[in-house]
């Protein structure tokens, strides 16, 4: 199967199951509201009744300076709360992944809530193990491979005659890091898919399936992945282009801006489901 066919298949699947995106969006919004609440309360307390609230900007260095001074001591507690919520979100996301992948791979069946939750529960521990395994992979990629690259680059950078040399090297380093991350991310995605598609209970085995699959067609799979990344980036570019005029003063524009940002969050969530759906199409079209 060609990668474009995989993408169009994936698109079809995600469009048939909008409920999945809704579930993820509601969870995202609820957690974001909880995490942002203390900050929003500070903003309201400090600026809600101050004339400074008339002129404050979304990124306002002067006001941020004041807020850091006033609330700096509360910052560790706020950060801790944020981290706890973030971790909870991560765990919940691992749980929801079961439902997402489960329902996306069950191409024709509707994404009923009952079936979704059944998948969440059924796949949870497998996905937890896979998540932990992926952490090891990321650590290896970032820690070992990038360290090696750094060591390789250092003598060149140390002997540089102008700023260009370290600038170029450090950007190459970043590019290598991003490409490596994309590869690991892709491998883990295929392992997630293999768990469901191959009804594989052991995640190591699922991972082996994914690796065997990728070994045979690595570049095509990677091209598919990078194409999806490109689509996501294009979406982000459109988002920011439209957001700019919405930043002008005006009550209507503030409301419009809010909805536009929420549409973008939905888009991002949807692209994530598209990654899974399209890669699942690709995976299932190449039985081995």
């Amino acid at each position: 199967m060609g990668i474009f066919k995989a993408i169009s298949g994936g698109l079809g699947t995600t469009f048939r199951k909008p409920r999945l995106v809704v579930i993820l969006y509601v969870v995202n919004l609820a957690f974001a509201l909880a995490a942002a609440a203390p900050f929003l309360a500070i903003v309201q307390k400090e600026l809600g009744h101050s004339l400074a609230g008339l002129s404050v900007q979304p990124v306002d260095p002067m006001w941020i300076g004041e807020a850091v001074l006033g609330y700096g001591r509360a910052f560790p507690a706020l950060l801790a709360g944020f981290v706890v919520l973030g971790l909870l979100y991560l765990v919940l996301h691992v749980f929801l992944n079961g439902g997402i992948v489960g329902r996306l791979l069950d191409r024709e069946a509707p994404a009923s809530l009952a079936a979704f939750s059944a998948d969440c529960g059924r796949l949870f521990w497998r996905y937890v193990r896979l998540f932990l395994l992926s952490l090891v992979f990321y650590a290896l990629t970032l820690g070992v491979v990038l360290k090696l690259v750094s060591v390789l680059f250092r003598p060149i950078s140390d002997g540089a005659v102008t700023e260009w040399t370290p600038l170029i090297l450090s950007n190459i380093h970043l590019l290598i890091a991003l490409l490596l991350l994309s590869v690991v991310h892709m491998i883990v995605d295929y392992a997630r898919i293999a768990v469901v598609a191959d009804e594989e209970r052991r995640v190591l085995k699922a991972l082996r399936h994914a690796l065997t699959f990728l070994k045979a067609r690595f570049f095509r799979a990677w091209a598919l992945y990078l194409l999806l990344v490109l689509g996501t980036l294009a979406g982000a570019a459109v988002f920011y282009a439209v957001l700019k005029p919405l930043g002008a003063p005006g009550v209507g524009l503030v409301v419009a801006g809010f909805f536009w940002m929420q549409i973008y969050v939905v888009f991002r969530i949807w692209t994530r489901t598209l990654f899974i759906a399209a890669q699942a199409e690709f995976y299932r079209s190449h039985p081995y």
């Binding site: 995202n28 809600g48 979100y89 991560l90």
Partner: protein, 713 residues
């Protein structure tokens, strides 16, 4: 500055208070730059790039300007700060970082300076009477940045002493301000330099500390610099005769400069050297001269600027930024010149610091270093800001030459403030620099643009509790507190003073202070005296409370409420010997009847508005200073009151036919140093458009972060 001179200025200030409440800028005619002061240097120095060494011979003629018989001389040997880990510089750097590797002279690049021979002009050897000393006490034991030489007989008042010194100096590898990298050199503080002799007190000659700069007397310099052929040299002063030695493959050039207190240079075989002229008549219009003269209360002739020869030494990879460099320098020469006094030297040399020599953003007389990146953003005013700042040091440090060890705010604070003014005038606000992996992102991400005074204010409010602005440089809590207090808090306080005193007073104060203390060593007392003299007010409290103090300054509006004033009061009242009882019902009946009577409309209402003001910070207003409060009402009217701010709180009352909509303390934003501007006002309506926008953007940010992490789980 001697105690005697300070006293005479205080007297002058008192006299001025009596007769001259709003004086014109009291112009002292500029001292001629040709005049040789009591110090002369002639130095022969040769650079050996392979060994990273300077070989030097120096002749110093010092004339004792005081009434003391001076038995010795203290000399700075600054490069010994980089000699080993026992130096004050290295120890303070390591202590602050909690890590001895904080300053690491890579490639074994320690720097040092040895005086190999020192004698009087008659040949008598002073080496046996030469020893390292620790003027800053036992904490700097082991430091070798100050040496003392004992004269065979004391130098009597008015007498001169001529010293012949031979020295060898090894350049440090990229530590601070001086250094080499490959075959590039930036050489500052490279020669033995006497401290400043203060009458009755002795030599003022501190060790080279981690957080400190320099202090020296005005002198005439003649410096003969020898470098390998092909090297491009930039130097303080004006280049004179040059001769090549073909057998040694070297070139020697002589540089001369009168009335400067330091001398720095650079050498690099790759550098581009570009010369331009600052032509005053092209840069300043007749109306600008007139406006300046009117503002300062001076004749136009006195504010005219001279032409200046500008030289830029720039790395080839920054060639595309040559025009940016010159534009900024022209703006600096123009505005510093118009505001504070004409630039008195013929030349100024601007150096794009050689790569990895750690020498960027540093000032020396008639020469300074800037600093840029290969990818420089147009919206970020860098290198412009650093060029304006370092040229500005030619005024604040170069000309009004305060002791940077003991009162760094007098140059860094004044100059940060002045840089902000020039940048605002010449460029407007600049984007906050945002660089990732050397790639400028400020334009792409549309980061906010802000003025320098705003950045300074944010730093100032964070620094106020840590140290007074006036502490000695190495006695600040850490280098962060040093820079935030000395640069930014001082600048914010000067900005506050500007707002408080207003023009033309403020401009005249700055002009007078600068011109009066050109080619001298002013102190805080000198500046306070000029402020009091020109303003005709006693502003001493401002410096005591806000510069010397470490208390936060924060005034605000605690509450705002408007309640209806009842037309009649309830209760039992004595009236004409009888008792009258007024209840709600009775009041209603009477009001209804009054409303229905022909010719009368609804009863007139009135509201009592109460505004509670608070002093949240410990710092207080003093002298005749007051803070303004404006209360705005629903009918568009406004009432302005003032408060002396001495107590913790005060309450203002207004009775008006309408309710108040807002109350604002310091509506004109005079008190830049106020640490919380959000509490400066209160309005009766809630949630505001921009606040909602801020909230939705923040929420969106959190959603994106969560979504990003979710996609890796």
């Amino acid at each position: 500055m001697t105690a005697k001179r300070t006293a005479s200025f205080c007297l002058a200030a008192l006299a001025a208070l009596a007769v001259l409440p709003a004086a014109a800028a009291a112009q002292t005619p500029p001292a001629p730059v040709a005049g040789a002061p009591g110090l002369r240097y002639e130095i022969w120095v040769e650079l050996d790039p392979a060994a990273k060494m300077l070989l030097g011979r120096e002749e110093i003629v010092w004339t004792n300007p005081t009434r003391d018989a001076v038995p010795d001389m203290l000399l700075h040997l600054y490069w010994n700060a980089f000699k080993n880990e026992a130096s004050a510089f290295m120890r303070e750097a390591a202590a602050e970082a909690g890590d001895r590797a904080a300053v690491d002279p890579q490639d074994d690049g320690w720097g040092w300076i040895d005086v190999t021979d020192i004698r009087l002009a008659d040949g008598s050897d002073l080496k046996p009477a030469f020893a390292y000393v620790n003027p800053d006490g036992p904490e700097t034991a082991g430091d070798q940045t100050v040496a003392r030489v004992l004269f065979p007989t004391p130098v009597r008042p008015g007498e001169s002493v001529r010293l012949r010194i031979e020295f060898k100096a090894k350049a440090p590898r990229t530590v601070a301000r001086s250094g080499y990298y490959k075959d590039s050199f930036f050489l500052g503080q490279w020669y033995p330099k006497p401290g400043v002799y203060e009458e009755g007190k002795g030599w003022n000659c501190h060790a080279y500390h981690r957080s400190s700069e320099f202090f020296a007397d005005f002198a005439d310099f003649v410096v003969h610099i020898t470098v390998p052929k092909g090297y491009v040299v930039g130097s303080s002063g004006k280049a004179g005769e040059s001769r090549a030695d073909d057998s040694a493959r070297t070139t020697t050039t002589t540089y001369r400069q009168a009335m400067v207190h330091d001398f720095a240079w650079m050498a690099d075989p790759r550098y581009l050297k570009i010369e331009r002229d600052f032509i005053a008549d092209r840069e300043v219009t007749a109306s600008e001269y007139r406006e300046t003269a009117d503002l300062l209360g001076l004749p136009v002739e006195e504010v005219r600027l001279p032409d200046v020869k500008m030289t830029l030494l720039i790395a080839p990879e920054h060639k595309g930024q040559i025009e940016r460099h010159f534009r900024a320098l022209r703006a600096a020469i123009k505005y510093y010149g118009l505001w504070y006094g004409p630039y008195p030297y013929e030349t100024v040399t601007m150096v794009d610091p050689p790569y990895r020599t750690g020498s960027g953003g540093m000032e020396y007389p008639t020469l300074f270093t800037a600093g840029t990146r290969v990818l420089a953003n147009r919206d970020v005013l860098d290198p412009e800001g650093v060029i304006v700042h370092e040229f500005g040091h030619g005024y604040w440090y170069g000309l009004a030459a305060n002791n940077e060890f003991e009162a760094a705010w007098l140059d860094e604070g004044f100059n940060t403030y002045s840089t902000g003014r020039v940048m605002a005038r010449a460029y407007g606000p600049g984007a906050i620099p945002l660089v990732f992996k050397g790639i400028p992102l400020s334009s792409v991400l549309r980061v906010p643009k802000i003025f320098d005074f705003e950045t300074s204010r944010v730093a100032a409010i964070h620094a106020v509790r840590t140290d007074p602005v006036t502490a000695w440089s190495w006695e600040f809590f850490d280098s962060m507190s040093y820079s935030m207090n000395v640069y930014m808090r001082a600048a914010t306080l000067l900005g506050t003073l500007e707002n408080l005193l207003g023009d033309p007073l403020w401009s005249r104060i700055m002009r007078t202070y600068h011109m009066r203390f050109r080619f001298r060593h002013p102190t805080k007392a000198d500046f306070v005296a000029v402020v009091n003299e020109i303003s005709g007010r006693d502003m001493t409290w401002f410096f005591d409370e806000l510069l010397e103090g470490t208390q936060a300054f924060d005034y605000g509006v605690e509450s705002l409420a408007s309640v209806e004033v009842p037309a009649r009061l309830r209760g039992v009242f004595d009236k004409d010997g009888a008792r009258e009882v007024w209840t709600d019902e009775k009041i209603e009946v009477v009001e209804d009847a009054a409303a229905k009577s022909p010719g009368s409309g609804p009863p007139a209402r009135s509201y009592r508005t109460t505004v509670a003001l608070k002093r949240y910070g410990e710092a207080r207003l003093g002298g005749d200073a007051k803070v303004e409060v404006v209360v705005r009402f629903a009918d568009g009217s406004a009432e302005t009151r003032t408060w002396d701010g001495r107590d913790r709180w005060t309450r203002l009352e207004f009775v008006k036919p309408v309710k108040a909509v807002s109350a604002q303390i310091d509506p004109r934003g005079v008190w830049l140093i106020d640490e919380n501007l959000a509490n400066n006002s209160r309005s009766t309506d809630g949630l505001r458009r921009n606040v909602v926008k801020l909230m939705t953007r923040f929420l969106f940010g959190v959603q994106c972060v969560l979504q990003f992490f979710g996609s890796w789980s």
